[in-house]
Symmetry: C2
Subunit: 339 residues, 2 copies
DNA sequence: CTGAAAGCGCTAACAA
DNA sequence: TTGTTAGCGCTTTCAG
């Protein structure tokens, strides 16, 4: 089987304590002994058992990340930021896809707790459900007792570290842009109704409308699910319902891409007939035609900051980092057609 | 600090062995005792220490994945397949971005070995470097001795399980398609020269040319790096060099998207003036304009199969799974302009 | 500078 | 059915 520290010690003719000291190089060891130990290590292909070490030091060098789905570009970018810092700090990253299922999230937290991860980063909006939030709060407490940190990236429903982008202000800024261009009938493709991000961004839409004195029209609001397919269906629904609109603001870029595809399939030109806007500024936003006007959310930076918070001392006080969003003007928005 | 099994045992008035038996439910325990233990567990928020368990059972329930970068859609899709199976089998997945740096890959393997992962999946092509391959082979041996599996996803340079797509055949199929449409001057945007995937796909291009009796022209081959930016630069270089071509075949979709952007910036129409083809069929391929003709690589399935191989018995014999690729015709390829 | 020994939290014989 | 006990592989006092 695998060589252990005793094998190395025997081969080098020293005690296990000495081997440990050589490997952790935090104690004076004579050069000759050091050499002998290193040779034995190399010859045996020895790698210290992280579990045995974790048992003693109660720190695993691992950080857990729970998110909707890594293959969603929004989360992929966040993870990129997380990995960047993890690599710098020699940490391993465990990634868990929750698929936005509350039970799955809680189960993952427990698995990660079992592994005594140094911290857990939960990315993405949270589900608006009291039982879930209570369970989450309970887990946060346990995590704390365990000496590991909880970092929320993109939401902030429980006492913990958090990194949050300004979704509401970003949403309002975007809709204001649409209004400035002359749009009054602005459809909105929302995310899943029970998600905080959906609410925050929708609020921005409503705020902008309100401060311009435009009455919101419920029939202009369609429900998507943050996917391309969801966006496509939402647009199709809007079109089928026959409601008039000159612009569509989608809750995220993926949905906006779906809207674009639907409008194209129906023979509508963007932005000549209808303007379309997204949210997030994921890489695909600039590669669709027309390139998407959107709100840039600093996803990579959110990931970096989250990981930085995660790696602080377990006793450091909670911190809340607010990040700004920014309007990115491209080609998918123009003045409404002068019908 | 954290509650341990002794705390639970004391609180439930039983021995630690009993607690263990209740939690692992693989031994007869009287119902009354079971209840008492469960109550104690709940009250203390107890979660068994995975490290202590791993030390005994020498299995961690964790699988490591080493890949270029999770935020690259090709890898993101593979990871989706991996996670799908991992969730089904209650495994945790550690993801490591190697950025294609050989040293980083080896270091990650050692970190994962230290954590006694049940298996390591290495995704993506391998670097063509003898020293690196020797080191990799050595690690594969150690992994084997350790009782954990090594699965290669997308390459096969060392003795191990592997899941490989048919890159060469796919590349040839695509170029044949271009030839059938009447193209003769077909430029090629390759990946990094020292990568196996680059070689495999380029070979397909050359094979197709050869079997049609078209002499390959080195000046038609540009080097990219599998990124959008690399594709853009490669196309710009081709254009600047003034070589004539009526089609561009890119080594992957991301590069093809860059080629598309470059051609657009230069005022060239696709496919009217130049045809463009990609490789992989990542999600963005159908959302660019014109939608990309490409070769579908079953990335999600590659991920699933890799994970399935990873979770087999450590002593099971190596297996090699070959997966087919398939031509996907969209709008970016047409007959060459009849100049 | 080096070794002996205790013990981290758990599971798996072995007893009872 | 339940308890006792011996480690898993390592780090860390405490001696020397």
């Amino acid at each position: 089987m695998t060589a252990n520290i005793t094998d190395v010690a025997r081969r080098a003719g020293v005690s296990t304590a000495t081997v440990s000291r050589v490997l952790n190089r935090n104690y004076p060891v004579s050069e000759g002994v050091r050499q002998r130990v290193m040779v034995a290590v190399r010859e045996l292909g020895y790698v210290a058992n992280a579990h045995a070490r974790a048992l003693l030091t109660s720190t695993s060098g691992t950080v857990g990340v729970i998110l909707h789905d890594v293959s969603d570009p929004y989360f992929a970018e966040i993870v990129r930021g997380i990995q960047e810092v993890a690599a710098l700090e020699d940490r391993l990253v465990v990634i868990c896809n929750s698929l936005r299922e509350p039970q799955r999230e809680i189960t993952y937290i427990e698995m990660l707790r079992a592994h005594r991860v140094d911290a857990i980063i939960m990315a993405g909006g949270h589900i608006l459900d009291d039982r879930y939030l209570a369970a989450l709060r309970e887990q946060a407490l346990q995590l704390d007792a365990q000496g590991s940190r909880l970092v929320l990236c993109g939401r902030h429903p429980v006492r913990a570290d958090a990194v949050v982008p300004d979704n509401t202000a970003g949403g309002a800024r975007l809709v204001r842009h649409l209004l400035e261009r002359g749009h009054r009938r602005i459809a909105y493709v929302a995310g899943p109704p029970n998600l905080s991000t959906t609410q925050d961004r929708l609020e921005g839409y409503l705020d902008a409308l309100a401060s311009s004195g435009v009455a919101p029209d419920p029939s202009l609001i369609a429900i998507g699910d943050f996917t391309r397919e969801g966006g496509y269906q939402a647009a199709a629904g809007l079109l089928a319902a026959g409601v008039a609109f000159t612009a569509v603001s989608a809750a995220n870029d993926l949905a906006a891409v779906g809207v674009l595809a639907c409008l194209r399939d129906r023979g509508l030109r963007v932005p000549a007939d209808v303007s379309v806007a997204g949210f997030d500024d994921v890489p695909v936003a600039r590669d669709v035609t027309p390139a998407l006007t959107t709100v840039r959310v600093p996803m990579v930076e959110m990931g970096r900051r989250s990981m930085r918070l995660a790696l602080r001392d377990p006793n450091a006080p909670h911190e809340l980092v607010r990040l700004h969003t920014e309007l990115v003007e491209r080609q998918s928005v123009a003045a409404p057609p002068t019908a």
